[in-house]
Symmetry: C2
Subunit: 318 residues, 2 copies
């Protein structure tokens, strides 16, 4: 499907970093950067911009903080048109420490928040937009917040936020295509001045098809990760998305190459992707944290018992 | 999604048998049968009905032939409403050796063929329908045959075939939801008197979403396999489909149980599911045989080279 406005954002290192405390070594990140650049992908999200006052530098790797010098070290000398993105969460970043865009290797700052924090995320995104960054607002976990509070948040974003892009985020890998159609249409109808983005999770093997559905209904910013890496079930696989898009600038071969050389060996060491506990969490519209805890314990393959435990907990809200 | 007419067909042993020459032991097949029965699934397809004159009994397991006594041994004594299905291919079955339905443990015979063999498959399906079986016609690989030959075949099936169900089959895991919508609508418009079925392959992680899309547009016969087992990338995972359907007769827990106990260990021994060479074959609308050969050789993770080799072969038809 060819639509010139479509932008692909690779968030391999950012979402993948949630599995390994953002501790990818520089050689690995540089190989990913090269592959992303060569494949014609528009943005690479390299990590979170967190305050070092809140998180220990000893406990987390470089991509929890994304210092300018780290970003420069993985990108210097690589021929590239890729823009660099970082993600920020409400209350975890010291905004005053972020330099203006013209003094930074970062091009885009993506601001993530739950619907209830819409005021905070608008203020944060406006702050960064005024510093010269491209900004997005990523409303997380909306599968749990589809009442009037969602409509209100969307109206408020349209009226008050300077952000370029508003993302629909399927945090729990819960949605299927009819719900994506409905939501993308709603986002576009209310947030008329914004581009719409989509970020899926792959709990039920629906991240790629939901991304296609979002494209069909007009979303132009599309998140994906190499070999689907990401927290728990992971994300929409970049290789499938790039293989699907018809824009001549995209080339799937560099992505295939880096999967062979870097991601197949990595998958032997750390786990992500389709696993039954994550599928159960997705069906139940649940955060995968209980499933992730199960996979780290002794009973990691006791699926029926895990299912019953989720049902017994009243889907987390009885 | 609840629609009373929906029937789920588990083809774990039949499609899974393509990986191991149909050599599942009876205990394993009995465990699958129990799980399928307890989960409320409507049909279990247990293998192929092939002529022993054409295939060596030494080379292939029991489920290449599906003798009545084998079927009885895995089902006897299990409380069950599951109907038993077998698949037949053009030219591989001695039709005269198949007893009438009232003398057989088999309820349904599914007749698979390419579009070019539509005359043969109609004759075969009519033969079995006259013997008292439920029958289906499964037109394979239609992603390669979507010209006027497909319309003609569909008209001919509507006019001449006694089969109850006509299956749309995405043999190469090539389709995405817009194509499924288009084809299900076409099948229903032409084959007005038939129920429509869907059988997907999971090369691009689209088997489940394509099955949902087929449901949305009125397909009532849905194929799936436990843990997505099947040739190459496998099929729509039964656990996801049963988790999605709202019909109260379905229960996902027995499927989860048999995955824990039987399929997790089996997946350590034989390979199926999402792997890059199968994804490439799917994108290219190719039979997975080259990808399967790659996975059995020394260069099984040389994805870029495999991609180039498929491009160089002109998608198999230059």
């Amino acid at each position: 499907m060819y639509r010139e406005q479509i932008k692909v954002l690779d968030c391999t290192i950012r979402d993948g970093g949630l599995i390994n405390k953002h501790d990818f070594d520089e050689k690995f990140v540089r190989e990913v950067y090269k592959a992303v650049a060569q494949s014609g992908v528009d943005y690479m999200e390299i990590g979170y911009k967190n305050s070092r006052e809140l998180f220990s530098s000893g406990e987390y790797g470089a991509w929890k903080f994304c210092d300018d010098e780290h970003i420069k070290r993985i990108s210097d000398g690589v021929e590239s048109n890729v823009k660099i993105s970082v993600m920020v969460d409400i209350g975890r970043v010291n905004m005053d420490q972020i330099k203006p865009a013209d003094q930074s290797p970062v091009d885009m700052i993506r601001c993530a928040a739950y619907v209830k924090d819409v005021d905070k995320v608008i203020a944060m995104a406006n702050h960064f937009q005024e510093k010269g960054y491209e900004t997005t607002i990523n409303l997380m976990a909306v599968s749990r917040d589809r009442g009037p509070e969602l409509d209100e948040a969307l109206h408020q974003i349209e009226e008050e936020a300077k952000a370029d892009v508003l993302y629909l985020v399927d945090s729990f890998g819960y949605f299927y295509q009819e719900q994506i159609e409905d939501l993308v249409k709603k986002y576009k109808a209310i947030a008329k001045s914004k581009e719409i983005g989509f970020h899926g999770h792959n709990n039920q093997q629906l991240a790629f098809s939901n991304t296609i559905e979002a494209i069909i209904h007009g979303a132009n910013y599309l998140d994906a990760t190499i070999y689907g890496i990401g927290q728990a079930a992971g994300n929409c696989p970049l290789e499938l998305l790039v293989g699907f898009l018809k824009n001549p600038k995209f080339d799937v071969r560099p992505v295939l190459d880096v999967i062979s050389k870097q991601f197949v060996p990595l998958r032997e060491k750390i786990e992500w992707g389709y696993l039954i506990p994550y599928a159960i969490a997705g069906m139940m519209n649940e955060h995968p944290r209980a499933a992730m805890a199960l996979r780290e314990g002794e009973h990691k393959d006791d699926y029926r018992e895990f299912y019953e435990s989720i049902v017994d907990s009243g889907y987390g809200g009885k």
